[in-house]
């Protein structure tokens, strides 16, 4: 039996075909191993993996609410510490639970310095309840609460920079990863677990249903997000960026035109002004993190 064959995340869960969150869950458990306690916030992953009386998880798993995910993880961490046990605690949440609803408890847990890892699978909206915008929804994405139409080009606000906020709490290790590069994701999860103190990993996980693309394109879309500079995969140690995934950048258009949530930028006619604004976001990312590889011509 190989590692993959004794998976800690069993098939039979109700995720859509080609779900990135399901893939992220498998990769996270592969990296973490069986001595792990998962605390899950409400969200797509919680709903599709544990319809009562079934569960896809083969590690201890607890769900309470949207908002108190980090508080439950803090309590478990404290109890394990008191008993002198070495199990690792992972708090898992979607971007809605992490960026918006659970922010208070997350901030509290990081400020108190509990030794656990918070992993956010970021699909950039509330997918479980029907694609409402969240603090992680990128600029100009059309969702059911930021619909694009005659008077709107979708979500008006930029994505919240949560890794920076959590690094500002004094977190020793903050990283972003993507399902497009699974070995890198696993390495970052492992590193976060091995680092003492509160650590945060944000996993970019494209949602085929919410973003509007075919399930087989999940990895291709995730790769494009990195290659266009709209998502930067990096590691931050004690507030300093120490490693960045460098790319030969593609125009953002290649990423946008593949998805239904950005369709209004191309139909009925091309909206060059808005595409230029999104390109500017990618350019700012590239400058801030230095992701560009300049090929010699």
């Amino acid at each position: 039996m190989t590692d993959e064959q004794c998976s800690l995340f069993e098939p039979g869960h109700r995720a859509c075909g080609g779900c990135a969150a399901a893939l992220a869950a498998r990769a996270i458990l592969d990296a973490a191993g069986p001595d792990t306690i998962i605390v899950s916030a409400t969200g797509c992953m919680e709903v599709f993996s544990t319809p009562y009386p079934e569960t896809a998880w083969k590690v201890p798993w607890i769900h309470s609410l949207f908002e108190n995910n980090s508080a439950v993880a803090s309590g478990i961490t404290a109890a394990l510490k008191k008993q002198g046990r070495k199990e690792k605690v992972i708090a898992l949440g979607g971007d809605g639970a992490t960026f918006d609803i659970g922010m208070l408890c997350l901030s509290g847990a990081f400020e108190r310095g509990h030794d656990f890892v918070y992993i956010c699978y970021d699909n950039e909206a509330y997918m479980n309840t029907g694609i409402q915008r969240s603090g992680a929804t990128p600029y100009d994405a059309s969702t059911t609460t930021s619909p694009a139409g005659k008077c709107s080009t979708g979500n008006r606000r930029p994505k919240k920079d949560l890794p920076a906020i959590l690094a500002a709490h004094g977190a020793p290790y903050v990283a972003t990863a993507t399902i497009a590069y699974l070995p890198d994701l696993k390495k970052k999860v492992r590193k976060a677990l091995d680092t003492e103190g509160p650590c945060y990993v944000q996993v970019h996980a494209p949602c085929c249903t919410g973003w509007g693309f075919e399930g087989e394109k999940t990895l291709a879309i995730a790769r494009l997000a990195v290659e266009t500079g709209l998502f930067v995969s990096y590691e931050m140690e004690n507030g300093v960026v120490t490693r960045v995934k460098k790319v030969v950048r593609k125009p953002v258009e290649e990423y946008l035109k593949e998805q239904r949530r950005f369709r209004h930028l191309f139909r009925p006619k091309r909206n060059d002004a808005e595409i230029a604004k999104i390109q500017a976001i990618a350019d700012r990312n590239a400058e801030k993190f230095g992701i560009d590889i300049n090929l010699k011509k």
Binding site: T2, E4, Q5, S7, F9, E10, P11, G12, H13, R14, A15, C16, G17, G18, C19, A20, A22, L23, R26, S49, T50, P51, Y52, P53, E54, T55, A56, W57, K58, V59, L182, E214, G215, E216, K217, T218, L219, A220
Partner: protein, 88 residues
């Protein structure tokens, strides 16, 4: 004093296997062996975790759970996975 919690519920690990998601499938991935390089990429990136390695090292999908998303066929570097329409 220890207060018993009367709330909540629990279930046995890995019980989702009773739910045979293979019935969702409209396209079936067919693995052609002759050109397979045994790179194991499909085994790693299947969101269901239902592609196994058989004794010779070739990947074998478990059609009981495969939802037919086509991610393996799309990503296979040797292009040896074919999506064929499901006949029921």
């Amino acid at each position: 004093m220890i207060m018993p919690l009367g709330l909540g519920c629990s279930s046995r690990p890995g019980t989702s296997r009773v739910n045979r998601t293979g019935s969702w499938r409209t396209f079936r991935p067919v693995f052609l062996r002759d050109k397979c390089t045994k790179c194991r990429l499909c085994i790693q990136l299947c969101p269901e975790g239902c592609i196994m390695e058989e004794s010779e090292g070739f990947p074998v999908p478990d059609y009981t759970y495969c939802k037919g998303c086509g991610l393996c066929a799309e990503e296979c570097p040797a292009e040896v996975i074919e999506m064929q329409k499901e006949e029921k």
